[in-house]
């Protein structure tokens, strides 16, 4: 049986040029481009092209990848300026090239095509993306879990879309507001807050609203909408954010009309 992509046969129609960002923190003062020609094959993605470079041409090129099937979220890069999962961006869609491959925009560059997403990893827990309950779990006499929280297919549908986020960070790379103001909580984190708010099993909406109503929560978003457009999983963070604004506004009006104690 055949071997891994690098050594596979397949329709080969010439080659295509990749212009790849290189940056070594120890020696480079700023990133530069390096060019590589890779075989242009119908079934090759940009990631296959990079792996060809890594295996055959220049072993020092660094980038993240793992699942090569669009689900682990690690291979995001800016391809010709657009944030893309490189394992789902096919070379021949960019023919005849050249293809510019850069690290995801709006994040600090660690090395070559690798960016630092620690900012997101620190923000995520702030929106409490886990089930929050008022009551105790369904437990039997021995403290073991006893039965499931019921949830109809319609209730599942209500949040399903927002649960599809793979944390690929394409939305952060596409959002100019995040680029300009890194304090902004950002699209994916807010979409995940919305995911739990809309889950019929969750009672944590108020706690999350408390976080997102803060200045760096939802208010920075000016509804550019690029986050939703680039999302590979149709999560619609832009929608989630606007709905949070509506929620926050409603809350505020309530608080205004019914001062404390009355609620």
């Amino acid at each position: 049986m055949p071997s891994n992509p690098g050594s596979n046969p397949g329709s080969n129609s010439g080659s295509i040029r990749l212009q790849v960002t290189r940056y070594r923190p120890e020696s480079d003062s700023e990133p530069r481009f390096q060019e590589y020609d890779v075989p242009l094959r119908k079934e090759w993605t940009v990631l296959d092209g990079l792996n060809h470079v890594k295996n055959e041409v220049d072993t020092t090129l660094s980038f993240r990848w793992s699942c090569r099937m669009g689900i682990c979220g690690s291979c995001g890069m800016n391809v010709n300026g657009d944030p893309k999962l490189t394992c789902a961006a096919f070379l021949d869609d960019y023919a005849p090239g050249p293809i510019r491959v850069e690290p995801l925009a709006n994040f600090p560059v660690v090395r070559d095509l690798v960016v630092d997403i620690n900012d997101f990893m620190e923000k995520l827990p702030r929106v409490k993306p886990w089930i929050i309950r008022d009551d105790d779990a369904l437990l039997d006499g021995d403290g073991e879990i006893d039965g499931e929280y019921l949830q109809t297919p319609e209730e599942l549908d209500a949040y399903k879309q927002f649960s599809m986020c793979i944390n690929c960070m394409l939305c952060y790379a596409a959002c100019p507001v995040y680029g300009l103001d890194p304090e902004f909580m950002g699209p994916a984190a807010i979409a995940l807050a919305e995911r739990y708010d809309l889950d019929s099993r969750d009672h944590g909406a108020r706690e999350r609203l408390d976080v997102l109503i803060e200045h760096e929560g939802v208010w920075g978003c000016t509804f550019v909408g690029e986050c939703t457009r680039v999302c590979p999983n149709h999560v619609d963070p832009a929608g989630a954010i606007q709905r949070y604004k509506v929620k926050a506004a409603k809350e505020n009006v309530m608080a205004f009309l019914l001062p404390r104690g009355a609620r």
Binding site: N4, P153, I166
Partner: protein
């Protein structure tokens, strides 16, 4: 402690942030909140390969189902090589674990009345596979990951690559690891360590596994002196996409998909897997176990009844009769993957598929609580072998295995940590040695050495030839010789990358060394098992031989680095060995 050598000291260190690792972390945080737990992982936890699992997770919940039936299906699926006490514990605890995940927010697919829905799966006599459409692993992993975020006391070392287990006087005391971000090599000590490092599909050229599945944990344990178990059992999944090896989940067949040869014939009926029926029958035809289906494919190739593709022979998976509605609600990811990577629409077209290396039944030898023979070392998930999977894993048993044994191993490791003493001084010297080894042997060398990718390609080709779906003694022996040569060559590997930060070339070399160890163990075990059982099919020994081989095989590492195979009895409780019958 000396400056910068020891990065951190924890009570329990979990290596791996996949399904098993995160479950272990939560188990400890919940039962022993005063313990200092850390998860170290070479990728951010949500990138772990659990994310790719599509089909579902088995656990008895339906009214018409029973614990005993799930046990029996698992035992016969394992070709009687699974340990029955472990399987009983597993089947008993799986539903509770899946419910726990439900409480943590996993978006399980539901019935109209609000209860979780279950689907059929290969080798299972009842519908008992919980699913979240066809992104089950993704949803499970993200639910687990997001839940761990609420436990502030759990520390994470993200993007740290573990290179060595620190062992002193027969006890594990921590690890040495590379911080990918900075390239620093440091020790992290712990009173107990849980390996949850996942599978090793990358030993083979054509696999459903992700790039990170290089079996590091197995190699770490093996080198530290813990034996590996049942390494000859490698599962081929019958339906992978040609070229990429991307998995088309078994759920396609559970929902009614057919496997057709080039003549449009449902060829499985020729291989003692039952009669073709228009709707799926449990434990029959397309819902037979994976080993049997993959073997049937090889016979079809021999009969010249498969179609050709640029990547070798293929058969077709036919979903057209299921209709767009069912495909879009229950198998949307399959449609997406086919459209993207094959440019075909399964609603109207046949999907080309072929068997592909998918899962490692073997792994680090553990008892029912995840403990290895090495004190302080625990293992769970695909990297471990408890064993519940024996000679062949049933689809959808692996995700719940990660939960059940992840939790068990976590609790056992926590228990051990509360009794263990301080870290001995000798550990520091060991850590310093490992740092020196990496600096000198790998990073310090010039670039004019052997090429990692060339050795890797050769290893993968060798493994495929020697340990494919069908094996023979001479081919295995030849493969072993080649692997030994490759092991020589990897000692001379060159690393051109001189940067410390995100040196993925260094990682690739370390991973390759791990895979060569594992490959050697696989072949050594395969050579010694002179019978055919489950996923291990020897054409020179075509029958199952319970007389000689109703045993596990443990591979130990000799002092000179060579493997030594010993046998260990299988635990049989209530189900004496019988014939594996499907479709009858």
């Amino acid at each position: 402690m000396s400056d910068g050598l020891i990065r951190a000291a924890h009570d329990v260190l979990i290596v791996g942030g996949g399904g098993a690792g995160l479950r272990a972390a939560i188990a400890i945080a919940e039962t022993n909140p005063q313990l200092d737990v850390a998860v170290i992982s070479k990728v951010y936890p949500m990138r772990s390969h659990t994310v790719s699992a599509e089909g579902g997770a088995a656990g008895v919940i339906a009214d018409d189902d029973s614990i005993d039936e799930h046990i029996y299906d698992t035992i016969s699926g394992s070709d009687w090589l699974g340990d029955q006490d472990a399987i009983e514990a597993f089947v008993n605890e799986a539903p509770r674990e899946l419910l726990q995940l439900e409480h943590w927010g996993c978006p399980w697919s539901r019935q109209p009345n609000g209860h979780v829905a279950v689907r059929a799966f290969g080798g299972m006599k009842k519908k008992r596979t919980w699913f979240a459409a066809d992104k089950t692993g993704f949803h499970m992993l993200h639910s687990l990951f997001q839940t761990t975020l609420k436990y502030r006391e759990v520390t994470r070392h993200d993007e740290w690559f573990v290179t060595k287990l620190l062992v002193d006087d027969g006890r594990v005391h921590g690890v040495v690891a590379v911080d990918l971000f900075s390239g620093k090599i440091q020790a992290i000590t712990a009173k107990s360590v849980v390996l949850c490092t996942g599978g090793c599909g990358k030993v083979f050229p054509f696999t459903t596994n992700a790039n990170i599945n290089t079996g590091d944990g197995m190699s770490l344990a093996y080198r530290a002196g813990a034996p590996l178990k049942d390494m000859e059992f490698v599962q081929y999944h019958p339906t992978g996409l040609p070229f990429t090896g991307i998995l088309i989940t078994e759920a396609t067949r559970a929902e009614g998909g057919w496997l057709l040869n080039k003549d449009g014939y449902r060829y499985l009926q020729d291989y003692d897997l039952g009669k073709p029926t228009p709707t799926p029958e449990l434990r029959s035809m397309e819902l037979g176990p994976r080993d049997r289906l993959s073997q049937a494919f090889v016979h079809e190739v021999e009969k010249g009844r498969t179609a050709d593709s640029p990547w070798g022979p293929i058969v077709h998976l036919d979903l057209r009769h299921l209709g767009a509605d069912l495909i879009d609600t229950k198998l949307p990811f399959v449609r997406e993957l086919c459209l993207k990577y094959e440019r075909i629409d399964p609603v109207h077209e046949l999907i080309p598929v072929r068997p592909v290396v998918h899962y490692m039944m073997g792994g680090v030898h553990t008892d029912i609580d995840g403990a290895t023979p090495l004190a302080g070392l625990y293992a769970a998930g695909e990297t471990a072998c408890v064993s519940i999977n024996g000679a062949n894993r049933l689809g959808s048993n692996s995700l719940p295995e990660c939960l059940v044994f992840g939790a068990r191993a976590g609790r056992a490791a926590a228990e051990f940590a509360t009794t263990a003493g301080p870290v001995p001084a000798a550990i520091e010297a060991q850590a310093a040695d490992e740092v020196r080894r990496l600096e000198r042997d790998l990073l310090g060398k010039d670039s004019e050495g052997e090429s990692t990718s060339a050795i890797r390609d050769e290893m993968q080709a060798t493994m495929e030839d020697a340990a494919g779906i069908y094996r023979t003694g001479p081919a295995i022996a030849k493969g072993l010789d080649t692997l030994r040569e490759l092991q020589e060559r990897i000692g001379k590997v060159g690393i051109a990358d001189t940067s410390r930060s995100f040196n993925t070339e260094l990682l690739a070399a370390l991973e390759l060394a791990n895979m060569l160890d594992i490959g050697e163990c696989m072949l050594q075990s395969a050579l010694q098992r002179e019978e055919s059982r489950g996923a291990h099919q020897r054409t020179d020994f075509p029958d199952r031989d319970d007389q000689r081989f109703l045993t596990h095989q443990l591979v130990h590492r000799n002092d000179d680095g060579t493997p030594r195979v010993e046998s260990l009895p299988v635990t049989i409780t209530r189900w004496p060995p019988g014939e594996r019958v499907y479709g009858r």
